[in-house]
């Protein structure tokens, strides 16, 4: 392979592309879409985070400003966790608008994360959303096909392919020259979008987040580079194996529709069909049922709570709960909280396992559909996938649990058991000591662990594309 020949062929493809109307229309359209999605992505990110930050601060303030009171009242006063968006959500919206944004955290109860954008939207949401990543995942592949379908098929139809080979240019040089040309062409769009994104990442990242965001950005960039390389190779291969340019175009459009629109949606739907999930009311019934099996704190003769009481009395070597060195009411509540939380989380885990099964069908299809691989990678590294949401939810639940248990502990230590003399309230200094909710995004290493399969699939696709191009280099038909 001679480098200058490949460069020459690539440059020729560029010149042809820029002479065609497709490129002109595509560029204008892409520019408009880029400006719109960058703007709307940024506004959405900025405004939403601004509101949520503000409310989170308000929540912290009102928590700390509560007067002296009984700690269990504070456990019911509770707190809120508001989900903050990652700066890269400007790039890929992912599930951002389909998951809830705020959850009320109180004792005894796991509330749902409410107020997703979807719950406040019209049916239009199902048409999808425009984001920078959507342009790269959905629109640019179509453009690559538009710009590349004719590359080899047309040259063969015109007879110029024969001429090229006759002039001593090897098949390998032709194949790789065309591929490089097409790939570089797609990088114009990639470059423009990532340049805009870099700007957002740089102005928004705070000291602690800086390295993290940049790292995510680089992984995204590399993944899309590889993805476009694969798409360009597919275009060249289809063009080379089609009799006519028209045939190549029709095949490529079919591939795009199938792999970007029809297959992912169908697989997700089939996953849903195969693995039904319980509704909330069914799960709540199951949780209550399990809890009743374990023990009932309302029933004075319940074996579980009776045994608990007896063992506590024995350990502390006293006769009555009134003689315990701590408030027994608080103790029972903290035991109850731990028990109900454990049961609830177990059921929730089962539910998420079913979700995992529902999603796996589509996720595994990354090995036959490179779009799926890039879709999942893109969401995960933008912090907008399901795992990122679960991470937030877990942190919120952990905070809720700590809040309830710390308040129970305060009650145990500082509030006298009922009937005994002493203050019924404690100083509000204790509220100020309890730290506010703070959220840190999923670590990069966790994202790599979650998306190992998608990464592997994409790399395999890279290998497959290279192999295909090499094979084509030996058996490209000139006529």
């Amino acid at each position: 392979m001679r480098k200058n020949v490949i460069k020459l062929l690539a440059r020729q493809l560029w010149q042809n592309a820029f002479r065609s109307k497709v490129m002109l229309i595509a560029s204008i359209l892409m520019l408009c879409l880029l400006l719109f999605s960058a703007y709307s992505g940024w506004v959405n990110y900025h405004d939403q985070n601004f509101t949520r930050d503000e409310i989170q601060d308000e929540v912290k303030e009102s928590w700390e400003n509560n007067p002296d009171k009984h700690p269990h009242r504070m456990a019911h006063y509770g707190s809120f966790a508001l989900r903050l968006k990652h700066v890269l959500s400007v790039f890929d919206l992912g599930m951002e608008n389909f998951v809830g944004n705020a959850v009320f955290l109180e004792a005894h109860k796991q509330n749902t994360v409410n107020f997703s954008e979807a719950s406040m939207s019209t049916g239009l949401l199902r048409f999808g959303e425009v984001s920078l990543a959507m342009l790269l995942k959905v629109i640019v592949p179509l453009l690559i096909f538009y710009l590349g379908f004719a590359t080899i098929a047309q040259e063969r139809e015109n007879g110029t392919l024969k001429l090229l080979i006759g002039q001593g240019i090897t098949r390998k040089e032709i194949v790789f020259g065309k591929w490089l040309g097409l790939w570089c062409l797609s990088l114009i769009f990639l470059g423009a979008i990532f340049l805009v994104l870099l700007f957002f990442v740089l102005i928004e990242s705070h000291d602690t987040m800086h390295a993290d965001s940049i790292f995510r950005y680089v992984v995204l960039l590399l993944a899309y580079l590889l993805f476009f390389g694969v798409l360009s190779a597919i275009t060249i291969l289809v063009s080379a194996f089609s009799g006519t340019a028209k045939g190549a175009l029709v095949k490529l459009l079919g591939i795009w529709l199938l792999f970007v629109i029809i297959v992912p949606k169908s697989l997700q739907a089939i996953g849903f069909y195969l693995y039904p999930t319980p509704s909330k009311i069914e799960m709540e019934t199951a949780v209550e049922h399990d809890l009743a099996q374990l023990g009932d704190s309302h029933d004075p003769n319940d074996p579980h709570f009776k045994a608990l009481k007896d063992s506590v009395l024995r350990v502390h070597n006293v006769e009555k709960v009134e003689d315990l060195p701590f408030n027994y009411g608080g103790f029972v509540m903290s035991q109850g909280e731990a028990m109900s939380t454990k049961v609830y989380l177990k059921h929730q885990e089962d539910l998420y396992e079913v979700y995992g099964k529902q999603n796996n069908l589509e996720r595994y299809s990354a090995f036959v559909n490179p779009y799926t691989a890039i879709k999942n990678l893109s969401m995960a590294f933008s912090g907008t996938d399901f795992q990122s949401f679960l991470h937030f939810k877990d942190k919120a639940e952990a905070y809720r649990f700590k809040l309830a248990q710390d308040m129970n502990q305060l009650q145990m230590n500082l509030i006298p058991y009922k009937g005994k003399a002493g203050p019924d309230t404690i100083s509000n200094e204790y509220w100020k000591e309890f730290p506010p909710f703070e959220y840190h995004f999923l670590s990069i290493s966790d994202i790599f662990k979650n998306e190992l399969m998608s990464l592997l699939a994409l790399v395999l696709w890279g290998g497959l594309a290279l192999f295909g191009l090499l094979r084509l280099s030996t058996n490209l038909k000139a006529i």
Partner: protein, 446 residues
């Protein structure tokens, strides 16, 4: 003439591929609708059992204290499902089918969601509506993009032109054969859905039927127009797919982004906090801070004693009332914003048949955002009636026996399925006519 055209069409590969694609995905979509209905039924059955059992259990625990009992008891309001929902699942997967609420402050319970897999929500339901809106146009495009150009490229057009005087008529008939095929599949799938999902053939079903036919007619006109430009196959394929992408993906998504950003709803989060503070801060205030407003709304309890230094249920439920009272305005603003989002979307949709089709299918199937807002409104009413029905008994310190619990089974909310034919049909009809006339004008030059 027609029989020949049909025969030649049936021999094409694209005919078989289209038929297989539409039928497979169409049938899958109907079964997904079936599954959705089964899940609804299961949920409703579970809710009914749950309510009955929890009343029984809690009455046994707290028989003496009605105030405490009603702290725990939850009462369910269910949107009565109609099988027609399954044709266009719409927003009914994001918004819960039922809500089980206590008589405590409603704002904290009203917006609780059901469990749904967000990956599924994101990818959207593969319902019959999706097949009609997305796949039917694609099949039309695949079958008509080379209607003329194929003949031209194969050289058969010149022979034809020599043999017939009505060249445009020939193209039109060729198109008609293909459109007819698509309509047969469409009608078949709709009737199949009606049979499998047991959808009664009521006005709403026929409205969906007519809207679907009109929508496919719109795409037929668009394809005819593209053919009438007499360009080559590659150009047609490229242009038609681009139009499809613009109409089914880009424009709706752009409008959606615009609507979400232009009408943000921070009120949702504000109301959530206001409700909690509106209720909780009353614990630390004089009883009057609660009772003044509560008595204003319920003067009949003016003479009930509210001891200043001890707990009483009238004060407690008064505080809960104050929670909703504090969030009332913000909550109303939030509802208004969502209505505004819908109004703006619908207005823009009048000019874009894809969007109009989706929104009207959702609304005809009773799965749009407005029907959920109506449900929430009726939930508010339901909650109010419940509270008011219990207040006197609680405040009079009655026991649980004072209530006839048999009357408190899960209740159903009947949705309003009315619509306007004119608004449904006119926009797409006008656009289709304009495009068809343009195509006809082009073909006259042939």
């Amino acid at each position: 003439m027609y029989s020949l055209l049909f025969k030649s069409f049936f021999r094409t590969k694209i005919f078989l591929v289209s038929l297989a694609l539409l039928l497979t995905v169409g049938v899958i979509s109907i079964f997904i609708g079936k599954q959705y209905l089964v899940k609804q039924e299961k949920t409703i059955a579970a809710a009914q059992v749950y309510q009955e059992e929890s009343i029984e259990k809690n009455v046994a625990y707290h028989r003496e204290d009605l105030g405490l009992l009603l702290y725990y008891l939850r009462f369910t309001l269910i949107k009565r499902p109609q099988n027609i929902n399954a044709i266009s699942i719409g927003q009914s997967d994001v918004n819960p089918l039922l809500q089980a609420v206590t008589i405590r402050a409603l704002e904290a319970q009203k917006y609780d969601t059901d469990f749904e897999n967000p990956s599924l929500l994101m990818s959207g339901n593969l319902d019959l509506g999706f097949v009609i809106i997305y796949l039917f146009p694609l099949v039309l495009i695949a079958m008509t993009f080379n209607l003329y150009s194929e003949e031209k490229e194969l050289g058969t057009w010149r022979i034809l032109a020599a043999q017939t005087s009505a060249k445009a008529g020939f193209l039109f008939k060729k198109l008609l054969v293909r459109i007819l095929f698509v309509f047969v599949v469409l009608v078949f799938l709709l009737f199949l859905a009606s049979a499998i999902l047991q959808i009664p053939m009521n006005t709403n079903f026929w409205a969906i039927f007519v809207q679907s036919v009109l929508y496919v007619l719109f795409w037929s006109a668009l394809c005819l127009w593209m053919v009438s430009l007499l360009r080559n196959s590659s150009f047609n394929a490229l242009a038609l797919i681009s139009i499809w992408v613009v109409l089914t993906i880009l424009i709706p998504a752009l409008v959606n982004n615009y609507v979400i950003n232009a009408f943000q709803v921070p009120e949702a989060l504000d109301a959530m906090v206001e409700q909690r503070d509106g209720y909780h801060e009353k614990w630390d205030l004089e009883k009057d801070a609660t009772m003044t407003e509560f008595i204003k709304a319920y003067p009949q309890y003016k003479n009930y004693p509210v001891p200043e230094d001890e707990f009483s249920w009238i004060w407690y439920y008064g505080m809960q009332y104050m929670g909703d009272f504090a969030a009332k305005d913000t909550s109303a603003e939030m509802t208004e914003k969502i209505m505004l989002r819908n109004t703006v979307s619908e207005k823009i949709a009048l000019f874009v048949p894809t969007m109009h089709a989706q929104l009207s299918l959702n609304s005809l199937a009773g799965t749009d955002v407005l029907s959920h807002l109506d449900f929430l409104k009726s939930l508010t009413e339901f909650h109010k009636n419940l509270r008011e029905g219990f207040y006197t008994k609680i405040f009079d310190h009655k026991s649980a026996d004072a209530v006839d619990w048999k009357n408190h089974e899960a209740k159903f909310y009947e949705q309003d399925y009315s619509f306007s034919w004119l608004k449904l049909l006119l926009p797409t009809l006008l656009i289709t006519l304009i495009i068809a006339v343009l195509a006809g004008l082009n073909l006259r030059k042939l």
